[in-house]
């Protein structure tokens, strides 16, 4: 549903395109006269009246053809020369070509559903697939991880929504999504396990075993926090950029 203003604006825009071949003074006069005429109609009226008035005018291409005809006739000549067919053809095709160019130039983005899935898979895909594959056989854990990363990256980089820089963020923070903080936080915080050693020989029966290198707790906890929060922040950022772009384009479409 278009408002009278939108109908008139669209009509005048098409008319400008269709009359591009006219001599500039003739074109300026014609456009100004029709703008005035349509302004009269607009002030008088409802959408129905505006549509009626535009119907009576005929298509912009027809007006352009009449104008070419009229410009070719000197007042005083009995019979006008027929309109040059080449010009008429160009006029008739001006508008569709302009639309086609509009469509080509119109920015396009991937759908919101697709983008949301991409972000969810970036964060959780590798973890979920690794867990799924591992439940079949422990040795398949790494395969699940690799497949999860590959699928989520493929979705990310084939999306039409994000810029290359944004895709770079999505790739770098973190490869594997939550797998990275899950693995690393057990390393950087001093999460140690108590093991009961069976061997006696004067050793204390219970000892604390820590794997890999560890950070002191005051440094390890914030680091682990950042590791978990960073991919969430990147994910939210990507979704936000996508929504913003879709809103912009949606606004342009509604004309």
């Amino acid at each position: 549903m278009s408002t009278p203003d939108e109908l008139i604006t669209a009509y005048l825009r098409d008319l400008e395109a269709a009359t591009a071949g006219l001599p500039p003074p003739a074109r300026a006069d014609l456009l100004s006269d029709l703008r005035d005429h349509l302004e009269e109609v607009r002030r008088s009226g409802s959408e129905v009246e505006v549509r009626d008035a535009l119907d009576r005018l005929g298509s912009p291409a027809e007006i352009a053809a009449s104008a070419r005809d009229t410009e070719g006739v000197a007042v005083g000549a009995a019979v006008p020369p027929p309109p040059p067919p080449a010009t008429a053809t160009a006029g008739a095709f001006t508008t569709p070509v302009a639309w086609a160019e509009d469509d080509r130039n119109r920015p396009s983005v991937s759908s919101g559903v697709r983008d949301t899935w991409t972000v969810v898979l970036l964060l959780l895909g590798p973890l979920a697939l690794a867990a799924l594959f591992a439940s079949v056989h422990r040795a398949l854990l790494v395969l699940g991880l690799v497949v999860g990363i590959a699928v989520s990256w493929a979705l990310l980089w084939t999306s039409r929504t994000w810029t290359t820089a944004e895709k770079g963020f999505g790739t770098a923070v973190w490869p594997g999504g939550f797998v990275t903080p899950l693995v690393l936080s057990s390393v950087v915080t001093s999460v140690c396990t108590e093991e009961v050693l069976i061997e006696g020989d004067g050793m204390p029966p219970i000892t604390t075993v820590c794997d890999g290198f560890t950070l002191p707790l005051w440094l390890g906890l914030p680091t682990a926090g950042l590791l978990w929060l960073a991919p969430i922040a990147v994910g939210v950022f990507l979704l936000h950029q996508g929504n913003r772009r879709r809103a912009e384009i949606g606004g342009e479409d509604r004309r």
């Binding site: 003074p25 003739a26 006069d29 014609l30 006269d33 029709l34 005035d36 005429h37 009269e40 002030r43 008088s44 008035a53 009576r56 005018l57 005929g58 298509s59 027809e62 007006i63 009449s66 104008a67 005809d69 009229t70 410009e71 006739v73 007042v75 005083g76 000549a77 009995a78 019979v79 006008p80």
Partner: protein, 121 residues
């Protein structure tokens, strides 16, 4: 079918050729606005012109200085742009009346050779 199409095309060409002066003549006595002019030419004088033809023509006539416009309140509704003849327009119309008479007589002489100037007017 074919002769009808050809005849219709000839008439269209003839009407189109005299249309600028028909418009001048229609504005000679009264000023009128676009739609009114279309209605007059179509309903009373057998021209098949639409507003899409009239507006480019009026633009042209105005640029040539034969027609001028004023904005006026109409009886009902918003102000409209009214078209009327300028002095140049009146001269052009007067000149065309003479040319047309000569042209019509010449064509009549060919079409009705035996009518001895008694051709229908």
């Amino acid at each position: 079918m074919e002769p009808d199409v050809a005849r219709e095309r000839t008439l269209t060409q003839l009407r189109r050729g005299v249309l600028p002066h028909a418009v001048l003549a229609a504005l000679a006595r009264d000023e009128r606005y676009g739609f009114e002019l279309v209605r007059l030419l179509t309903e009373d004088h057998g021209f098949s012109v639409g507003e899409g033809t009239i507006y480019p023509l009026l633009s042209r006539l105005r640029r040539d200085g034969l027609v001028t416009t004023t904005w006026r309140e109409s009886d009902a509704g918003p102000p409209r742009r009214y078209y009327r003849l300028t002095t140049d327009g009146e001269h052009a119309l007067a000149a065309f009346r003479i040319e047309w008479t000569a042209f019509r007589d010449a064509v009549d002489g060919l079409l009705f050779p035996d009518a001895d100037r008694q051709a229908p007017t």
